[in-house]
């Protein structure tokens, strides 16, 4: 301790003694800015602080949750020793530093990140990481492994054969490899077959379909052996039996794999969206479908969130953004001071009094699953009291919206046709009533398409309009019920979208809605009044809470419709969308690498996916007639990335089994409700004969793989993080290698690289001879042989997106760039190589990487009363496309208008039987210290939170004779044993500690996700005959997902939202038994 100030000479001497020689050089530089203190005689050994120097700071992006905050990783001796927020990134400072800010200033300014981000490097330095390829040495899931050469693993996966003759029972099990699945390579054959299958699917009757199949077989006789099943050509080619799925994957890595599977030709590439908040994405997709020509299409898988830094009132529904929800570091600082100052008021609807609720002016402890009832109650009140934004809702097209300075418009005033029972179906087309004929129009590329006018009502008279017309404004009456005549004089009953909304809301009284919610009616009224008292600066923010129920799709639609009643989209303080800089070079001509063109021409894949997404049951060859209902499993015309479907569908071989399965950074067995059903599927050798995975440890799902390829930790690799809809600033954060990898270095396409996710794709491509990879993979003289070949090009593209490219890095900045990477091996960072890849863009690439991405300024994010980055399109109040889809179990049409739908299984049976004897309603929560399956490796976090607990209300605890700290087991009707069956004789009982509290709705219990692991270092594993002891801290706490209900019809999958795809996380009734 410096009791007295040291001289500069003393300091340098001291530094050298403690082995910090590197400091001496930079000390001069550092001292430069501290002249004042030198003069004051204050320069002391305090300047030994190495963590504030630009040369020791590398900017990247966190991935301990999907918020993806910008990080500044501080390096000493090549080790990541500290992580803080990047001041250049708007996720950690508000507002963030302008990109022009000097790197030395940036190095000293830390931004704020959450505890998971702070502990991030412990994931990289996890003693349980695998660094070589693991091959199963025992049965699937037996935790016995052997490390094998990378090339051997690639050969075995590509060629197949008898690969597990060392495992008892598998001596003669012959496995089909990827090579055999790369069946159709001819693009023309693929396209021709695809076209014929598309027309086959449009046949109306089973007989017509059979006839088409027969014709198909004749026409394609030469290639029938390349199909999965010639009797069902709609299953597609054998290529589809390569199934690739993933958990947390962002831009860049997505593009990398897409490049592979587009050429390989499989339709089976599935994400994990439905385990998170799928029904939020797919309800928003349904709301964002655009009227193009004569139909709705181009809906986006995305959603809106509030511009919380300008909202006056936000109604948060099942959205806990101080713990999760994209996410704490970016959203919290945009709210806390405004909450204190009274500029923002919030209401929180959640059965649990969350941290967010602790800052709310009102907490509504609603019953789980009743969210749409609350929303419909509010809707009824708002319509009855005329508190909606009438001019917004009256605007039928873009031009009318512009009159109100709106950039979005709804279809509330459009007329919808009713069927003979009065059920709303499709929008009325003007030609149907002889009002205005169809037109043939031409699109941008000169291609002709059919255009049909729609109809709204003005002064009792139908008026034709084009919703995308930005010249002649058309408004319509809001509440319309009418009978029109078609061309033949037949009656056509119609209602306006808003009228349908009103009638739907009026099906129940507010008191009845309140009863469903388990609250007082006046709460709905008061919240509705508050919500409609702030103009367009009020929002409903929704997340997992309403989405992860069997009625998730309609919960979300009903809540999002409230935003439409205010017309708050694109307004400052209203609902906004994410905005990012483009990475693939397809945005403008100045971008140097158009990755859309720098690739081989792939054929269009065809066939049903194993999860039957983007497909209607009725169009498949599995559907005969009405007797085909109920389908064995669901069909998903409106959703994709249905995580819970992937493994059980393959196990059911519905529609077909897989041959080779590859998973990346996903743990469905852990993260999904009733995850034990996923384990059951994973050990199915018949329908999942070969399963390989990319992971950084032996994880809770990858422990059931046949091979595990070690991946890079997020501090060691590339990715394009993108943004989230609560972020008004246009960004593209770039994840880049900041430390070396411990993984084995292998050679692919002649290039040395540590084994990574990309290396696996590259090696498979090399072995299969896939076009578009290796030498001249992009184009002549442009190789794709290693990760940086791909990602440096993307960074260059980002640099050139937007009105102006980013500036060039100065020489001094290039110098810092190089010094900051001196610890990285050549197989990760090679300045000459990178410069050669980037070409003339090099100094812009440096400028961008020096800041961890590209970020627009705070000022540029708003224009007047609007956000600068707008949605700018139509938003559906009534969903025609949804109404045109049928339930694959009941054969009934889906509702086009949001409504309250009770919790039910896939056959629409309310779960009365499953509930008998089980009185407590189980839900889950997040704690900001844990992400679902990966943060258990971060000991700073487990030290802070060694276990989670079963949170229960005092009154329920009293009934059960429980007090805080008591251990209880969680049981349900579909898991009466209260245990995870991990197979091979291993079980893990679901036992946790009770936490008694007043801060939860009585009758509801909850636990936070992320604890109670059985893998990822939590248990012993044997590698090459040696036992690696597990760390018991990682098994701490409880993971009660296995208690969640299994659907009684599906039998091997959790309960699901059959419209929006979400899994049911919050519908199960359980009981607790003291142990």
């Amino acid at each position: 301790m410096p009791r007295t100030d040291m001289t500069r000479r003393d300091f340098l001497k001291r530094s050298a003694l403690v082995g910090c020689g590197a400091l001496v050089a930079s000390q001069l530089d550092f001292a430069h800015g501290l002249i004042a203190r030198v003069e004051a005689g204050e320069l002391t050994q305090f300047e030994a602080y190495q963590l504030m120097q630009a040369e020791n700071s590398l900017y990247s992006v966190c991935l301990n949750c999907n918020t993806g905050c910008g990080i500044k990783v501080k390096i000493m001796d090549g080790v990541a020793v500290k992580i803080d927020g990047s001041p250049y990134n708007p996720f950690t400072l508000h507002p963030h530093l302008d990109m022009k800010t000097d790197l030395k200033v940036g190095a000293k300014q830390d931004g704020a990140i959450c505890p998971k981000g702070q502990a991030g490097h412990q994931g990289a330095y996890d003693p349980y990481r695998i660094t070589r390829v693991m091959k199963r040495a025992g049965k699937r899931g037996e935790n016995k492994w052997q490390s094998i050469p990378f090339d051997q693993a690639i050969s075995e996966i590509v060629n197949g054969g008898i690969l597990f003759n060392h495992v008892s029972g598998e001596e003669n099990r012959k496995i089909i490899g990827l090579k055999a699945l790369y069946a159709i390579k001819d693009v023309k054959v693929l396209e021709e077959m695809g076209k014929d299958v598309a027309s086959l699917r449009k046949k109306k009757t089973a007989d017509e379909k059979q006839k088409a199949i027969a014709e198909f077989k004749v026409k394609h006789a030469a290639n029938l052996d390349k199909l999965i099943d010639p009797e069902h050509p709609d299953f597609g080619p054998k290529n589809n039996q390569f199934v690739y799925w993933w958990g947390r994957k962002k831009g860049g890595r997505s593009d990398f794999s897409k490049r592979f599977y587009d050429v390989f030709g499989t339709v089976n590439t599935h994400g994990h969206t439905t385990v998170c908040q799928g029904s939020l994405y797919f309800a928003s997709k349904a709301m964002s479908e655009q009227y193009v020509g004569d139909t709705f299409k181009d809906g986006q898988k995305f959603y809106w969130q509030p511009d919380q830094e300008n909202s006056e009132y936000i109604l948060f529904v099942g959205s806990n953004l101080f713990d999760g929800n994209y996410g704490p570091p970016n959203r919290t600082p945009r709210m806390t001071q405004r909450l204190v100052d009274g500029k923002l008021k919030i209401t929180v609807i959640d059965p649990r009094f969350t941290k967010l609720a602790s800052k709310a002016s009102r907490w509504v402890p609603i019953k789980p699953g009743a969210d749409a009832a609350f929303a419909m109650g509010m809707t009824r009140w708002i319509l009855e009291n005329k508190r909606y934004n009438a001019p917004y809702l009256a605007a039928a097209n873009k031009a009318a919206a512009a009159v109100n300075k709106d950039t979005t418009w709804s279809n509330g005033s459009w007329l919808v046709k009713l069927d003979d029972k009065g059920k709303p179906g499709t929008f009325l087309r003007a030609h149907e009533i002889g009002l205005k004929e169809k037109e043939t129009r031409k699109d941008k590329d000169g291609k002709e398409f059919n255009f049909e006018y729609l109809v709204t009502m003005q002064n009792g008279k139908p008026v034709a309009f084009d919703p995308n017309d930005d010249k002649s404004a058309v408004t319509g009456e809001l509440f319309v019920t009418a009978e029109l005549r078609d061309k033949d004089g037949k009656a056509v009953k119609v209602k306006s979208g808003l009228q349908i909304m009103k009638e739907t809301a009026d099906e129940k009284t507010i008191a009845q809605y309140a009863e469903i919610c388990g609250i007082e009616a006046k709460v709905i009224e008061e919240v509705a009044k508050e919500f409609t008292s702030h103009g367009r600066k009020a929002c409903v923010d929704v997340h997992r809470g309403p989405a992860q129920h069997t009625n998730g799709f309609y919960n979300i639609s009903a809540l999002m419709n409230l935003n439409l009643l205010l017309g708050n989209y694109d307004w400052k303080g209203g609902m906004i969308v994410a905005s990012t800089f483009n990475t693939d070079g397809t945005k403008n001509d100045s971008q140097p690498f158009n990755l859309g063109k720098l690739k081989p021409k792939g054929g269009k894949q065809f066939g049903l996916s194993v999860i039957r997404h983007d497909a209607k049951f009725e169009e498949s060859t599995l559907f005969k007639d009405k007797s085909s209902y109920p389908a064995k499993r669901n069909w998903w015309p409106l959703s994709s990335d249905v995580y819970e479907e992937i493994l059980p569908s393959m196990a059911d071989a519905y529609p077909y089994g897989a041959k080779v399965v590859f998973s990346y950074m996903g743990a469905p067995s852990y993260s999904l409700p009733a995850g034990q059903t996923q384990i059951e599927a994973l050990i199915n050798l018949d329908n999942i004969p070969l399963y390989f995975a990319s992971d950084i440890t032996i994880g809770s799902t990858t422990m059931y793989a046949d091979y595990i390829f070690p991946d890079l930790h997020y501090l060691e690799r590339w990715e394009m993080q993108g943004s989230h809809p609560n972020m008004p600033v246009k960004v593209q954060p770039v994840r880049q290698p900041v430390i070396a990898s411990p993984n084995e270095v292998v050679t692919v396409f002649g290039e040395q690289q540590p084994i990574s996710y990309e290396t696996v794709w590259l090696a498979l491509a090399e072995k299969l001879g896939l076009a578009g990879f290796g030498k001249d993979g992009f184009a002549k003289g442009q190789d794709l042989s290693r990760p940086d070949d791909f990602y440096i090009r993307m960074v260059a593209n980002i640099a050139y997106d937007g009105k102006e490219p980013v500036p060039d890095a100065s020489d001094a900045e290039v110098d810092i760039f190089l010094k900051a990477r001196k610890h990285l091996p050549k197989n990760v960072f090679d300045a000459d190589r990178w410069q050669a890849i980037a070409g003339p863009s090099w100094k812009k690439v440096v400028y961008l990487l020096n800041r961890g991405g590209r970020f627009d300024s705070q000022e540029a994010s708003y224009k007047g009363d609007h956000v600068a980055n707008k949605w700018g399109k139509q938003i559906n109040l009534y969903q025609e496309k949804t109404a045109k889809c049928k339930d694959a179990f009941t054969g009934k049409s889906y509702h086009g208008m949001a409504r309250y739908v009770p919790i039910a299984d896939v056959l629409d049976r309310e779960p009365v039987e499953q509930s008998k004897g089980y009185d407590l309603h189980l839900i889950t929560q997040r704690d900001v210290r844990m992400t679902k399956s990966r943060t258990i490796a971060n000991q700073y976090l487990t030290d802070s939170m060694p276990e989670n607990g079963i949170v229960i209300h005092t009154s329920d605890a009293k009934k059960l004779g429980l007090k805080t700290g008591d251990k209880v087991k969680v049981l349900s009707s579909t898991n009466p044993e209260g245990a995870w069956d991990l197979k091979n004789g291993r079980k893990k009982t679901m036992v946790g500690s009770v936490q008694v509290t007043e801060t939860i709705r009585p009758g509801v219990i909850t636990f936070t996700l992320g604890h109670g692991h059985w893998s990822t270092g939590a248990e012993d594993v044997t590698i090459d005959g040696k036992v690696i002891k597990g760390d018991k801290r990682r098994a701490g706490g409880i993971h009660a997902n296995a208690a969640m209900w299994i659907d009684p019809h599906l039998k091997n999958t959790c309960m699901i939202d059959k419209v929006g795809g979400s899994v049911s996380f919050y519908d199960t009734k359980v009981k607790l038994v003291k142990v």
Partner: protein, 257 residues
């Protein structure tokens, strides 16, 4: 519009130019803005390479009321850097080269410091502190019980501006440790770690003697409290340098501990 993290850091640079005796390093925590994320606790652990179960700045959580009229409050608790610290009074290793003292010179003026080389681990200070701000280092590592010690755990931390390495053989086992307002950062014109990683911007740091500083302004605009009313175990005035803003009296919360 500027993030207070940027503003306060600019003020810090200016404050460093003032004479130590004119400055009063202080911390203010607005519980109305604390969201209980524990980033400060863990950021501090990482910054100072603290071993398991040693927290310089824990966050206490309190629940009050009966369903549905309930509240949750989060209370971060660093060392109060008392101007009259009972921990220093009771330390047997006295003298100008003692084990713990109230620093009066240089950038660290105002901080209650510990010299790890001099501390004898008698634990009297631990008992004397009414805030439980001192903890004995048990000499453990986060990777204990796993296959391998990790290099980052043994890299230098910079407490008191002195590179301090932690190895299996050489670590401050048995020594008292506590928060020091990150003086190694402050000396370099950077805010303490707990302040910079506060996602709710609940923490303020600066020179409370400068009426124009953000911390002074916020203190002036709000009713400010001291934990335990700034009293020691014998009721003596400790003159702590950590202040709080809360919607209620802190004793009500603190009584739950």
């Amino acid at each position: 519009m500027t993030d207070i993290l940027v503003t306060m850091q600019q003020e810090l640079e200016a404050a460093l130019k003032r004479k130590p005796e004119e400055r009063r390093w202080s911390m203010l925590i607005d519980l109305r803005k604390c969201v209980g994320c524990h980033a400060c606790t863990i950021g501090c652990i990482s910054e100072n390479k603290l071993p398991p179960q040693l927290k310089y700045r824990p966050v206490h959580e309190y629940e009050q009321g009966q369903y549905p009229d309930v509240s949750r409050t989060f209370l971060p608790k660093p060392c109060m850097q008392c101007d009259k610290p009972p921990c220093v009074d009771i330390c047997p290793v006295k003298g100008s080269d003692g084990a713990t003292w109230k620093e009066e010179d240089g950038v660290a003026a105002g901080i209650v410091a510990i010299n790890y080389d001099k501390c004898i681990g008698c634990q009297k200070c631990i008992a004397a502190c009414p805030y439980n701000s001192r903890t004995i280092d048990k000499g453990a590592f986060h990777s204990d019980g796993t296959p391998a010690l990790q290099k980052y755990e043994t890299m230098a931390a910079f407490e008191y501006g002195k590179p301090l390495r932690r190895t299996k053989e050489d670590n401050p086992k048995g020594i008292a440790r506590k928060c020091h307002f990150c003086v190694h950062r402050v000396a370099n014109g950077m805010l303490p770690q707990c302040i910079t990683t506060c996602i709710g911007r609940a923490g303020y740091f600066g020179d409370a003697n400068d009426p124009k500083s953000t911390i002074s302004q916020v203190m002036k605009a709000n009713r400010v409290q001291l934990l335990r009313n700034g009293k020691g175990k014998k009721g003596e005035d400790l003159k702590p340098r950590v202040y709080y803003i809360a919607n209620q009296k802190l004793e009500v919360l603190y009584a739950q501990d």
